[in-house]
Symmetry: C2
Subunit: 408 residues, 2 copies
């Protein structure tokens, strides 16, 4: 790395893009990066590529220098990738085409907002730049509601999605208490159970649901699930269940995988946008003779619902974007900006540069201490971990409900 | 009816209960009635029956006089029937058992919060009281997210559910714009399309979704649906669709009815708590060759999600509850409190007493002027009708997105 003063002299244009599943705060990161870029003379034009790598290959660029601060701040609080997203991993042929384009537009600063697949893409782009001996800085800006990026205590997008899930379960628990039965809710999260676990934040009063929580980190055994639900139902007369869309049997075969057809270009099976898993599980419970059984699949609302945003999440998403630009201008050629939690009682985080390859490819799972030994709930350690990221939930009450003595 | 002064002398206890599908503001009506009751000397004890008529038959009463105002106000803002609900219509045998119970507890004021089935129940209870020559006042307090009660401009619960649906479509439209494809969202509403129509409030910018809206008031023809979606997809490269769970074919057979088994004691088929309809429609679109097709069923979140409440709805739900008590104490033996809109530019409503039988049994549908001739969208008249009931939605923005000239 060059000395600091020399490091700061790289002049050229900037390009930023968004990839993968959108989140409610993904535009906070975009706007954080764009507004930070305006502070640095080395960054000349600020371009956005539409629909990620696809937009770079098509040279579909927009001039983000033409956006007012007011409109950018409105976009920042708007869910879902404002530049458009893509589920495309560049092939070697794509990469060969990328560099002439970047050179043509004199792109010297590149930022890619996304999950682990996007970190991998960013790394491929960087390696190509190295080979081409092209002076170039690039950063991955983390996001994912799944919260499954390595090196990160948590990722932007998770807190708001978790807030949605927690509020949804607060309401659904109240609904189930009012009209008792078995209610199964399927929550997003392909390989990591963090978002499904966030359902447990819904508990306020004794016997509040979710009463059972099934995570992709543990094998899902249908017989055990049915027995668990029957047990709760016999005790409470009702049962609310949180199930990850990614649950898999002991052989690792996803319960839903047998029922869907689509696979994206990263090899991921499409788990959302279908009610099949919930219906399969509900049928298994109905077979026991319990009659009022319902299943809902929360679906895309979890990652796109406006107005249910964790303040901490929004603030951190903005900071991750601006920090990426600072790092690229002042101190690092490449990397990913990770959120790491400081030790201590009060919730505090720092934003650190980590190597791209340390975030790319593999994902992170829930640590064992977050899952109960019975594999059907989360622990207090998880609640303590998640609560400050999610922030305040709506206040709900219960009647004192003093029973009137029956008259004989 | 007795003269006013004589009318106000009926002394006795009050019983209130909740029935049917819960709403986000149903406890506003409960608390409105309970707090109003405290102002009237004729009303002595204020009891709540747990789980509606079932709780009356079991004499499961709670003493609402033991609740603090602070806790009642917290309960008021909590979604879903705090007293518990029921989907039970009393049989003639139930009714024969009801009156000895009401007499035993000296219940002279009875309030039943619910939809049209509950108005019918209230009427049966009143008729039985008449036969028994039992001095008795009873009111139905309207609620239903379906917004399908006759005599009402709209009903408590609808505004908040409509707000949830509108926000959900705002987010989902942004998600679909970011990762284009066909997205189908199934919305609650057995016979009336008001809630599905509320999806149209999500539109902010040109070409915002939902692009198509299918209501139970018009026959659903699968071929026309597929052609409509293909048309939008070819024009915009994407398509967001709102579909009522209650859509039925030309013969009146519900599209979903063929796929579900449960029927409640009012003869209603269970349409929610299953992803089947969305999956059927998505498969029909996939058969055309469009690959990225998703379906979500919003499910119970629509009627239970805390923190997404229409302020107008909450205020009106409270007023309907307190007005029912005022009417029962001061001027009427029985009835249902209806919300009627005053003519004029500014949004204003009044709460009026209507006969129980005018609300019971049949439901109301969307009037023709709310549905476009092509039967795949709502009109501006509907938007103008719904907007003041739903209130303010979150602000969302779009990038100006000035295209950068491609370099040759």
């Amino acid at each position: 790395m060059a000395s600091k003063s020399k490091f700061e002299t790289l002049k050229g244009n900037m390009l930023i893009a968004q990839s993968g599943g959108p989140t409610v705060v993904i535009n906070q990161s975009l706007v954080g990066a764009v507004l930070e870029a305006r502070k640095h003379k080395g960054i000349q034009k600020v371009y956005g590529a539409l629909h990620g790598i696809k937009g770079i290959l098509n040279e579909d660029f927009v001039d983000l220098g033409k956006e007012t601060v007011g409109n950018l701040n409105l976009v920042a609080q708007t869910p879902s990738s404002a530049l458009g997203s893509v589920r495309k991993k560049p092939t070697p042929e794509d990469c060969a085409k990328l560099f002439p384009i970047l050179q043509k537009y004199n792109i010297r600063y590149f930022f890619y907002i996304g999950g682990n697949d996007s970190a991998e893409t960013t790394n491929i782009v960087y390696q190509e730049a190295l080979k081409a001996n092209f002076a170039f800085r690039c950063f991955h800006i983390c996001k994912t509601i799944d919260n499954d990026l390595r090196q990160n205590d948590h990722t932007p997008g998770f807190g708001s999605a978790a807030k949605f899930v927690a509020q949804a379960f607060m309401g659904d628990n109240l609904d189930n208490r009012s009209l008792p039965g078995v209610k199964i809710n399927v929550v997003m999260g392909r390989h990591a159970g963090f978002l499904t676990g966030a359902s447990a934040l819904a508990r306020v009063f004794p016997n509040d649901g979710p009463h059972l929580v099934y995570l992709p980190e543990r094998p899902f055994i249908m017989e055990k699930f049915v027995a668990d639900v029957k047990g709760v139902y016999e005790k409470l007369g009702r049962c609310v269940v949180a199930v990850s869309e990614g649950i898999a049997d002991e052989s690792g075969t996803s319960i839903i995988a047998k029922h869907v057809k689509e696979v994206d270009s990263h090899g991921n099976i499409q788990l959302s946008g279908s009610g099949a898993l919930g219906d399969i599980l509900a049928d298994a419970i109905r077979a026991t003779g319990i009659t009022r059984v319902r299943a809902d699949t929360f679906g895309y609302l979890q990652r796109s619902f406006p107005g249910v945003t964790s303040e901490v999440d929004a603030k951190e998403a903005r900071a991750v974007g601006s920090t990426a630009v600072k790092f690229a201008v002042k101190s690092h050629e490449n990397g990913s900006v990770a959120i790491q939690r400081k030790k201590g009682k009060a919730y505090k985080v720092e934003f650190v540069r980590v190597p791209l390859e340390s975030v790319a490819k593999e994902t992170r799972h829930m640590p064992d201490e977050f899952i109960t030994p019975a594999a059907n709930d989360v622990t207090k350690a998880f609640i303590d971990y998640a609560r400050p990221i999610v922030g305040k939930l709506p206040a709900v009450g219960r009647l004192k409900a003093v029973a009137v003595k029956k008259k004989g």
